[in-house]
Protein backbone atom coordinates (compact mmCIF):
# COMPACT_ATOMS: atom_id res chain seq x y z
CA UNK A 1 0.00 0.00 0.00
CA UNK A 2 1.40 3.36 -0.99
CA UNK A 3 2.15 5.72 1.87
CA UNK A 4 0.23 8.97 1.96
CA UNK A 5 1.05 12.29 3.59
CA UNK A 6 -1.55 14.96 4.29
CA UNK A 7 -1.71 17.96 6.63
CA UNK A 8 -2.75 17.25 10.17
CA UNK A 9 -5.26 20.06 10.36
CA UNK A 10 -6.82 22.93 8.41
CA UNK A 11 -9.07 25.78 9.46
CA UNK A 12 -11.60 27.49 7.26
CA UNK A 13 -14.69 29.69 7.37
CA UNK A 14 -18.16 29.09 6.13
CA UNK A 15 -18.58 29.71 2.42
CA UNK A 16 -14.92 29.24 1.58
CA UNK A 17 -13.40 26.55 -0.59
CA UNK A 18 -11.20 24.05 1.21
CA UNK A 19 -8.42 22.24 -0.63
CA UNK A 20 -6.62 19.34 1.02
CA UNK A 21 -3.53 18.03 -0.72
CA UNK A 22 -2.31 14.49 -0.25
CA UNK A 23 1.15 13.31 -1.30
CA UNK A 24 1.64 9.75 -2.51
CA UNK A 25 5.03 9.64 -4.18
CA UNK A 26 5.15 5.84 -4.40
CA UNK A 27 1.78 5.37 -6.05
CA UNK A 28 1.72 2.33 -8.32
CA UNK A 29 0.34 2.18 -11.82
CA UNK A 30 -2.77 0.29 -10.76
CA UNK A 31 -3.48 2.34 -7.63
CA UNK A 32 -6.60 4.43 -7.21
CA UNK A 33 -6.94 7.45 -4.92
CA UNK A 34 -9.85 7.51 -2.51
CA UNK A 35 -11.07 10.02 0.05
CA UNK A 36 -13.18 9.36 3.12
CA UNK A 37 -14.86 11.74 5.58
CA UNK A 38 -15.43 10.99 9.25
CA UNK A 39 -17.60 12.97 11.64
CA UNK A 40 -17.10 12.63 15.40
CA UNK A 41 -18.57 9.43 16.83
CA UNK A 42 -19.39 8.06 13.37
CA UNK A 43 -17.80 5.65 10.95
CA UNK A 44 -15.93 6.95 7.90
CA UNK A 45 -17.95 7.76 4.79
CA UNK A 46 -16.73 7.30 1.23
CA UNK A 47 -16.56 10.66 -0.59
CA UNK A 48 -14.83 10.26 -3.92
CA UNK A 49 -12.41 8.12 -5.90
CA UNK A 50 -10.25 8.79 -8.92
CA UNK A 51 -7.39 7.54 -11.05
CA UNK A 52 -6.29 10.58 -13.01
CA UNK A 53 -7.31 14.12 -14.06
CA UNK A 54 -10.46 15.38 -12.37
CA UNK A 55 -13.46 13.73 -10.79
CA UNK A 56 -16.46 15.63 -9.47
CA UNK A 57 -19.56 14.57 -7.59
CA UNK A 58 -22.20 16.30 -5.52
CA UNK A 59 -19.92 16.49 -2.49
CA UNK A 60 -16.41 17.26 -3.73
CA UNK A 61 -13.93 17.39 -6.56
CA UNK A 62 -10.72 15.43 -6.82
CA UNK A 63 -7.82 16.78 -8.84
CA UNK A 64 -5.01 14.44 -9.84
CA UNK A 65 -2.02 15.75 -11.84
CA UNK A 66 -0.47 13.78 -14.65
CA UNK A 67 2.33 12.31 -12.51
CA UNK A 68 -0.25 11.16 -9.90
CA UNK A 69 2.21 11.75 -7.06
CA UNK A 70 -0.29 13.94 -5.29
CA UNK A 71 -3.99 14.67 -5.30
CA UNK A 72 -6.19 17.49 -4.02
CA UNK A 73 -9.63 17.13 -2.52
CA UNK A 74 -11.66 20.29 -3.01
CA UNK A 75 -14.70 21.05 -0.87
CA UNK A 76 -16.65 23.98 -2.35
CA UNK A 77 -18.34 26.53 -0.10
CA UNK A 78 -17.97 24.66 3.16
CA UNK A 79 -20.44 24.90 6.00
CA UNK A 80 -20.12 24.15 9.71
CA UNK A 81 -21.34 20.62 9.02
CA UNK A 82 -18.25 19.93 6.91
CA UNK A 83 -16.14 19.93 10.05
CA UNK A 84 -14.67 16.43 10.03
CA UNK A 85 -11.56 14.34 9.52
CA UNK A 86 -10.69 13.66 5.88
CA UNK A 87 -8.62 10.64 4.92
CA UNK A 88 -6.66 10.10 1.73
CA UNK A 89 -6.11 6.47 0.75
CA UNK A 90 -4.22 4.88 -2.10
CA UNK A 91 -4.63 1.26 -3.07
CA UNK A 92 -5.02 -1.29 -5.78
CA UNK A 93 -8.19 -3.06 -6.80
CA UNK A 94 -7.28 -6.70 -6.55
CA UNK A 95 -9.52 -9.71 -6.27
CA UNK A 96 -10.07 -10.82 -2.66
CA UNK A 97 -7.34 -8.51 -1.48
CA UNK A 98 -8.34 -4.91 -1.02
CA UNK A 99 -7.30 -3.58 2.32
CA UNK A 100 -7.93 0.04 3.21
CA UNK A 101 -5.09 1.77 5.03
CA UNK A 102 -6.14 4.89 6.89
CA UNK A 103 -3.54 7.35 8.10
CA UNK A 104 -4.14 10.06 10.67
CA UNK A 105 -6.18 12.14 8.26
CA UNK A 106 -6.69 15.90 8.08
CA UNK A 107 -8.93 17.51 10.66
CA UNK A 108 -10.87 20.29 8.94
CA UNK A 109 -12.50 22.81 11.22
CA UNK A 110 -15.02 25.19 9.71
CA UNK A 111 -15.81 28.32 11.70
CA UNK A 112 -18.71 30.71 11.39
Amino acid sequence: LAKTTQPISMDSYEGQEVNITCSHNNIATNDYITWYQQFPSQGPRFIIQGYKTKVTNEVASLFIPADRKSSTLSLPRVSLSDTAVYYCLVGTLRSNDYKLSFGAGTTVTVRA
Binding site: T34, Q42, G43, F46, G91, S95, N96, K99, F102, A104
Partner: protein
Protein backbone atom coordinates in the same frame (compact mmCIF):
# COMPACT_ATOMS: atom_id res chain seq x y z
CA UNK B 1 -27.30 4.96 4.63
CA UNK B 2 -26.21 1.37 4.16
CA UNK B 3 -28.03 -1.05 6.44
CA UNK B 4 -25.33 -1.86 8.94
CA UNK B 5 -25.85 -2.24 12.65
CA UNK B 6 -23.37 -3.04 15.35
CA UNK B 7 -24.08 -4.42 18.77
CA UNK B 8 -23.49 -3.56 21.45
CA UNK B 9 -22.76 0.13 20.85
CA UNK B 10 -20.95 0.47 24.16
CA UNK B 11 -19.41 -2.12 26.43
CA UNK B 12 -17.25 -2.10 29.50
CA UNK B 13 -15.62 -5.36 30.45
CA UNK B 14 -12.86 -6.65 32.67
CA UNK B 15 -9.46 -7.92 31.63
CA UNK B 16 -9.50 -11.62 30.85
CA UNK B 17 -13.18 -11.90 29.95
CA UNK B 18 -14.36 -12.98 26.51
CA UNK B 19 -16.19 -10.42 24.39
CA UNK B 20 -18.10 -10.80 21.15
CA UNK B 21 -19.09 -7.90 18.93
CA UNK B 22 -21.69 -8.34 16.25
CA UNK B 23 -22.04 -6.71 12.87
CA UNK B 24 -25.28 -7.18 10.97
CA UNK B 25 -26.00 -6.03 7.42
CA UNK B 26 -29.15 -5.97 5.35
CA UNK B 27 -27.43 -5.15 2.03
CA UNK B 28 -26.42 -8.71 1.09
CA UNK B 29 -22.87 -7.50 0.43
CA UNK B 30 -20.23 -10.17 0.05
CA UNK B 31 -17.37 -8.46 1.85
CA UNK B 32 -17.28 -7.53 5.51
CA UNK B 33 -14.51 -6.00 7.59
CA UNK B 34 -13.62 -5.24 11.19
CA UNK B 35 -11.46 -2.21 12.01
CA UNK B 36 -10.32 -0.65 15.22
CA UNK B 37 -9.71 3.07 15.65
CA UNK B 38 -7.31 4.48 18.20
CA UNK B 39 -5.95 8.00 18.66
CA UNK B 40 -2.78 8.44 16.63
CA UNK B 41 -3.30 5.27 14.60
CA UNK B 42 -6.23 5.99 12.35
CA UNK B 43 -8.25 2.92 11.43
CA UNK B 44 -6.54 -0.44 11.27
CA UNK B 45 -7.95 -3.59 9.72
CA UNK B 46 -8.35 -6.53 12.12
CA UNK B 47 -10.00 -9.22 9.98
CA UNK B 48 -12.12 -9.36 6.89
CA UNK B 49 -14.42 -11.79 5.16
CA UNK B 50 -14.92 -12.40 1.46
CA UNK B 51 -17.81 -14.81 1.84
CA UNK B 52 -19.59 -17.12 4.25
CA UNK B 53 -16.96 -19.03 6.22
CA UNK B 54 -14.18 -17.26 4.24
CA UNK B 55 -12.10 -14.95 6.39
CA UNK B 56 -8.57 -13.60 6.46
CA UNK B 57 -6.34 -11.64 8.78
CA UNK B 58 -5.72 -7.96 8.60
CA UNK B 59 -3.03 -5.71 9.96
CA UNK B 60 -3.72 -6.19 13.69
CA UNK B 61 -5.32 -9.62 14.08
CA UNK B 62 -3.48 -10.91 17.16
CA UNK B 63 -5.90 -11.51 20.04
CA UNK B 64 -8.96 -11.48 17.78
CA UNK B 65 -10.96 -14.12 15.96
CA UNK B 66 -13.91 -13.82 13.62
CA UNK B 67 -16.70 -15.95 12.28
CA UNK B 68 -19.19 -15.59 9.49
CA UNK B 69 -21.81 -18.31 9.30
CA UNK B 70 -24.35 -16.20 7.40
CA UNK B 71 -23.98 -13.50 4.78
CA UNK B 72 -25.52 -10.89 7.04
CA UNK B 73 -23.55 -11.47 10.24
CA UNK B 74 -19.86 -11.03 11.00
CA UNK B 75 -18.75 -11.63 14.58
CA UNK B 76 -15.56 -10.37 16.19
CA UNK B 77 -14.42 -12.18 19.33
CA UNK B 78 -11.83 -11.19 21.86
CA UNK B 79 -11.09 -14.49 23.59
CA UNK B 80 -9.52 -12.85 26.62
CA UNK B 81 -9.81 -9.09 26.58
CA UNK B 82 -6.81 -6.95 27.48
CA UNK B 83 -6.57 -3.23 28.22
CA UNK B 84 -4.75 -2.70 24.90
CA UNK B 85 -7.96 -3.74 23.16
CA UNK B 86 -9.80 -0.73 24.50
CA UNK B 87 -10.83 0.98 21.30
CA UNK B 88 -13.65 1.92 18.97
CA UNK B 89 -14.50 -0.94 16.64
CA UNK B 90 -16.03 -0.37 13.24
CA UNK B 91 -17.59 -2.88 10.93
CA UNK B 92 -17.66 -2.17 7.21
CA UNK B 93 -19.18 -3.84 4.17
CA UNK B 94 -18.62 -3.69 0.45
CA UNK B 95 -20.32 -5.21 -2.53
CA UNK B 96 -17.04 -5.88 -4.33
CA UNK B 97 -13.37 -5.57 -3.61
CA UNK B 98 -12.44 -1.96 -3.89
CA UNK B 99 -12.08 1.23 -1.94
CA UNK B 100 -15.79 1.98 -1.50
CA UNK B 101 -16.79 0.54 1.82
CA UNK B 102 -19.73 1.41 4.04
CA UNK B 103 -19.10 1.68 7.74
CA UNK B 104 -21.30 0.95 10.71
CA UNK B 105 -21.83 3.29 13.67
CA UNK B 106 -19.07 1.71 15.77
CA UNK B 107 -18.79 -0.02 19.14
CA UNK B 108 -16.90 1.63 21.95
CA UNK B 109 -15.21 -1.05 24.03
CA UNK B 110 -13.49 -0.34 27.31
CA UNK B 111 -11.44 -3.06 28.99
CA UNK B 112 -10.68 -2.27 32.63
Amino acid sequence: DAGITQSPRHKVTETGTPVTLRCHQTENHRYMYWYRQDPGHGLRLIHYSYGVKDTDKGEVSDGYSVSRSKTEDFLLTLESATSSQTSVYFCAISEATGPEQYFGPGTRLTVT
